[in-house]
Symmetry: C3
Subunit: 340 residues, 3 copies
């Protein structure tokens, strides 16, 4: 089966729906595009990006990847360019929602060959937020492939770019050790990055250690997916609390911060719990305990809070390569999904 | 005379300024583009869209049509990207307006080959709003063709897309019966869609029935234009109040909602009047009284308030085709107006 | 040395960093592009525009110039698309700034071949504002050429377009007389335009007279640069208060308004001082004292406050040509800086 054929026409909403081979095939195409350059295969095609939340890296990398391949991009901001959307099927729409997501998704499908959606959590209870209602609604009603530009649960394009970065830095990832380390951040951060990075590591056959304080687990559904993926790939997944323990012999330290799930809709309590871990960050000393590990972060990064300047700017830091590779992975993904 | 030559260089601000043959020629070109595809004839050309009000369908269809033909698009939002504009000629500009519309229109004409303007009513008395001051000011001072992306009075590109949709669904429109049915909506809606759809029906030689409650007429100037257009085209125009009467034997039921003109600047009174018609919507039962009519709506649609889900999602519903055809008509219009 | 080679890869942040010959070479290329048309040399290249302040002319001319040459453009608005940026190096980022300018600049350099920055003053003391912290930070950390789309101190692309306009209108500028006349404006306006226009005049060998009331000097650093540039080019620079005196025998009257530097952070006092000059504007009578001078203004212009309609709309007025020429100069600059 050709690389292109395998994911043509598919939604890109989570790495969970792609096999390890499919993930590797996209990485291989991205490396070729990066080395050999590209032409204008998307001429006459269009991408509609719909933002329910702001974005720098994702917006820039999606838009530039699509348009430098010759395609057209429109960028819609919900609440500014889009009417308030009704999500409940069968609703009598006599309230504030001016348009049903059914219609918004179908209309955009008439105009665009691909639709990107960014919709983060709104501060509700995790049990409700984790259903990823906006993304799932667009996925259900759109007639063209949907790209997840970060949802409540997942951020597959970030993780795909990270996989390319690791592939360039470390070669074959099977058996390599990645420590995903919860660090302090002044705000309760989304779960999508830690989820998608964990799934990527498990799919790639890495030994993943998630290091987070009590009260900061990953989503239970993601945890099940991780165990399943690791079993298939020959990797492993473990959880520890202690940072030092987590990074011992690690080949990669991936710093992130995320909200407590139990306290997801109780910000004051969440903050009080989080504030107990103010000093939890990646330092040069911590990096000294690793197997000369590379440092990763999805950005934006709080310097000297999540990780020290000396770590972020060290030779072994991959943070800039991660950001840059999002562009190259995006070019490969658009071509593969559109079959060009 | 070639199709292209006939409308080259002209403003697209209302269907009133185009002959029935010119309207049909654009539809024919749109059908060919839709079937045969398109190239990049707008390479090096640019479209400046200026939004005084938000937009989904119009913004997306204008931007994607222009750019997939190879052109460049910029999108300016008044109050964000544009300075507050002075509209009065000769004004001593010592108040809040930072720039005169004379200068904004002329400068944009230096940068763009086409300018699109969206400017809806601001809640003033209808007698003042109907002058369409923003659109008319840009039309007066711009040196390049102006496209109306919906003004107080008119929305020609919506109606042109609707004409393409009807042409595909019903063939020759002469003698066909279109019922434009006022339905309840929780908000007082603009007049531009009912106006432009009515003009389109009259220009196409259809028998138009406008069905609206007492207090919800169309603009008197539009009514005069309708009579004139129908007389020329062999169509007819009548007004009734009753929904059931209006749709009897109709080939097309076009649902819309619009504000009372007399109460245009008195929202509380308008709302009280409108609320008396809360149950006025298109149901399956109502559609049963027609000549197996197709259902149309310009969207966004309030499902189960303006029309029931069963009507919107029925096989005979054209709502999605309408939205999609805006893209194809737009491609034809840009090429014809730019003469490429 | 070829024209292109001379400025390839350089930042365009001020005319101060370009020689008179380099400025003239870009003007010559712009005139050729304007006459002979252009192709798609920027295909596959991208421009990221970052706006900390709104913009019409600059945004439109940058975006259309880059994209009509085949390139891709993204447009980021700080505070909407960008996280709040930390500017202090080594900062412990536990406050509101979510991202460091180091990282924002480096990441954008991964995505874009050119970065444009607009960042005006924030109402602080002039001694602090004049450091142009945002622009300088991006310039320091970006890995690709930075274009100043107007900063606190400078607006080089405006002045470069003005130089093209004067070149077309007057031919060789050496020895021609330009009067930069401070006029009343209801708001305290930025300094960037008067600064960059002055530098341009001095670099081009013009005799520059800056006419402003007591309390409205140009920045002292700019004044030094002017003297230096004029000495090199054979031009001259003088300052007067009186409007009538300033325009005597002028070939060009360039109207502008700007804030008092001493009162830059004291808006009430600045306003009181400025209000003493309410009647200071360019009239037909004033133009009668000149050497049949051309009238210029960078727009947006307050008609009948800064200059009378009869002056702005006179045959000799260059205001529209100035705006239009920004597009042509921009096309030349992008090609020269990118070396294509």
């Amino acid at each position: 089966m050709s690389e292109t054929a395998s994911i043509r026409g598919r939604d890109v909403v989570s790495l969970n729906t792609f096999s390890s081979d499919e993930i590797r095939a996209v990485i291989a195409r991205a490396r070729r595009l990066k080395e050999e350059g590209y032409d204008s295969p998307l001429q006459g095609r269009s991408l509609a990006m719909v933002f329910f939340d702001p974005s720098l890296r994702t917006r820039a990398s999606f838009a530039i990847a699509f348009s430098t391949l010759g395609g057209s991009v429109i960028d819609m901001v919900a609440g500014r360019d889009l009417w308030p959307l009704e999500m409940r099927e069968g609703a009598v729409m006599d309230d504030i929602a001016d348009e049903h997501v059914i219609d918004a998704a179908r209309v955009l499908s008439e105009y665009a060959d691909v639709i990107g959606i960014r919709a983060l959590a709104r501060g509700g209870p995790w049990g409700r937020e984790r259903r990823d209602r906006v993304l799932v609604s667009f996925q259900k009603h759109a007639q063209v492939p949907i790209f997840n530009m970060e949802s409540v649960l997942d951020h597959p394009c970030q993780a795909w770019g990270d996989a390319l970065t690791l592939d360039e830095a470390l070669g074959d990832l099977r058996g390599k050790r990645l420590a995903l380390t919860w660090c302090y951040h002044p705000k309760a951060r989304p779960l999508a990055v830690p989820h998608s990075v964990s799934v990527m590591a498990a799919k790639m056959g890495m030994h993943l250690t998630v290091a987070s304080p009590d009260g900061y687990p990953l989503d239970h559904g993601v945890q099940s997916a991780l165990s399943h993926a690791a079993a298939l790939s020959g990797g492993s997944v473990q959880h520890v609390e202690n940072l030092e323990e987590a990074v011992e012999d690690a080949d990669v330290v991936y710093a992130a911060s995320w909200s407590s799930l139990d306290l997801h809709d109780r910000p004051a309590e969440e903050r009080a719990l989080r504030n107990r871990f103010r000093d939890r960050r990646v330092t040069t000393e911590l990096m000294g305990r690793t197997n000369d590990a590379r440092f990763m972060h999805a950005m934006p990064i709080r310097r000297n809070v999540e990780a020290d300047d000396a770590v972020v700017d060290a030779d072994g830091s991959l943070v800039l390569a991660q950001a840059g590779n999002r562009l190259h992975v995006q070019r490969a993904l658009f071509q593969d999904v559109l079959g060009v």
